[in-house]
């Protein structure tokens, strides 16, 4: 994340002091990426060193004010024009985890997927509630504050990201089921999970019998009551 460019963008609207920049950065992004004042001043010092900002006196309360320079404006314009690089993806812990879980002994990859899915969907629920609230602020109030709109966009980005992750998890699960149905290979993953592993009432491990509505009834010992009683 570029704090540097974020600060330049805020300074383009006029000179500001350090903690003011921090407050404005956070209200734009709903504190999604919290900044501490130290980071702000370190960044300002570097920007000053590179000639992109200059100290420009003090305000009435004695805060040192920083102002954007012409070269800072040029840098900012370039940032807005240039796409964010997606060709060298950042390390994704979840992708690495699932890649490692394929065929790992004592690991039921469907449990790994489900535990992540629960966490991801729950995060989406929370983001969605915040979004409903932000929408009311943007649509209801009539005062379309720049900060409210910015916060809504950030929240929606978080929702899209978690949605993509949840869909990918669904996809992984159904692909694994399809693969295990077509290739009945011997796989160490069918070995019983270690006693330490949390036991959840999930369906058989993915490399075992394909699960689904066609699964024989004997697979479901947990069925209670008398089938066909009514």
């Amino acid at each position: 994340m570029s704090i540097r460019h974020g600060l330049l963008a805020l300074l383009e609207r006029g000179p500001r002091y350090g903690s003011q920049l921090r407050t404005e950065f956070e209200s734009r992004t709903g504190s999604t990426w919290p900044l501490n004042v130290g980071q702000v001043y370190t960044t300002l010092n570097r920007l000053e060193r590179d000639g992109m900002v200059a100290q420009g006196g003090e305000d009435a309360a004695g805060h040192t004010l920083y102002a954007i320079t012409d070269s800072g404006r040029a840098e900012l314009r370039t940032w807005f024009e240039k796409p964010v690089d997606r060709t060298s993806p950042a390390r994704d812990e979840l992708a690495i985890k699932l890649a490692m879980a394929v065929g790992a002994p004592g690991v039921d990859i469907r449990d790994v997927i489900q535990s992540q899915r629960r966490h991801t969907v729950k995060a989406m629920q929370d983001y969605t509630r915040l979004k409903a609230r932000a929408l009311l602020a943007v649509e209801g109030g009539g005062s379309r504050e720049r900060d409210d709109v910015a916060w809504l966009l950030v929240l929606e980005q978080l929702i899209f990201q978690t949605e993509a992750e949840a869909r990918w998890l669904d996809h992984c699960e159904s692909r694994l089921i399809r693969l295990s149905a077509t290739t009945a290979v011997e796989n160490p993953a069918t070995a019983p999970a270690s006693p330490a592993a949390p036991s959840t009432p999930t369906a058989p491990v993915v490399s075992g019998t394909p699960a689904g509505p066609g699964t024989p009834a004997s697979q479901h010992p947990s069925t209670t009551g008398t089938p066909g009683a009514r």
């Binding site: 729950k122 629920q125 915040l130 409903a132 947990s222 009551g225 089938p227």
Partner: protein, 244 residues
Amino acid sequence: MSTQQPVLQLQNLARVHGAGATEVHALRGIDLAVYPGELVAVMGPSGSGKSTLLTIAGGLDTPSSGRVIVEDTDITTASVKELAALRRRSIGYVFQDYNLIPALTAAENVALPRELDGTSARKARVEAVAALEEMGLGHLADRFPDEMSGGQQQRVAIARALVGDRRLVLADEPTGALDSETGESVLALLRSRCDAGAAGVLVTHEPRFAAWADRVVFLRDGAIVDQTVRSEADSLLSGQVADA
């Protein structure tokens, strides 16, 4: 919320199709309670039993074993007459394809369940218009289904599901035929009706729509394997997104 009586209770529910070698357990060991003010989403891959759960909850299908209690009535032991009355008075459905009656206006569609329940046509119409207005749909009252967009029809269907005293709305993929923007607005309406005191069960395979719910229940092979509980949103984004 927990001190209130659930609007819907599913107790140890099972549904078996067929018998013997071809026996299929569509649902097994389902326990679920939905309280007033709560929206519960049911997610799961196709064939996991989502729709079966909903049709049984609404009395459109009967379970092989277990109990379904709506308000105070066990619909598995209710008479045909009681069940019909319960479906008219207590349970509202929302389907993927809206199911509005093409020859009736929005207000007439919404008034229909009240009229069927014996309310006079005039009173039913007044109630229907009030329900539409409360949901911001007053301007649609005199339109026919083919004069409305899909999203508008679905919102009218939600109004119909909750007209009168009905407090339970069962929605089966209500956004399935809508683009995602319109789907969101339908979910926002459903959410606001639950915030106003209704109990809702939403079946969907879209995480984005399930995310409007208070609780997401995950179904796999006919059983509930997991569920989420929503955290307080204020603790979010400060690194405290704890698991349920």
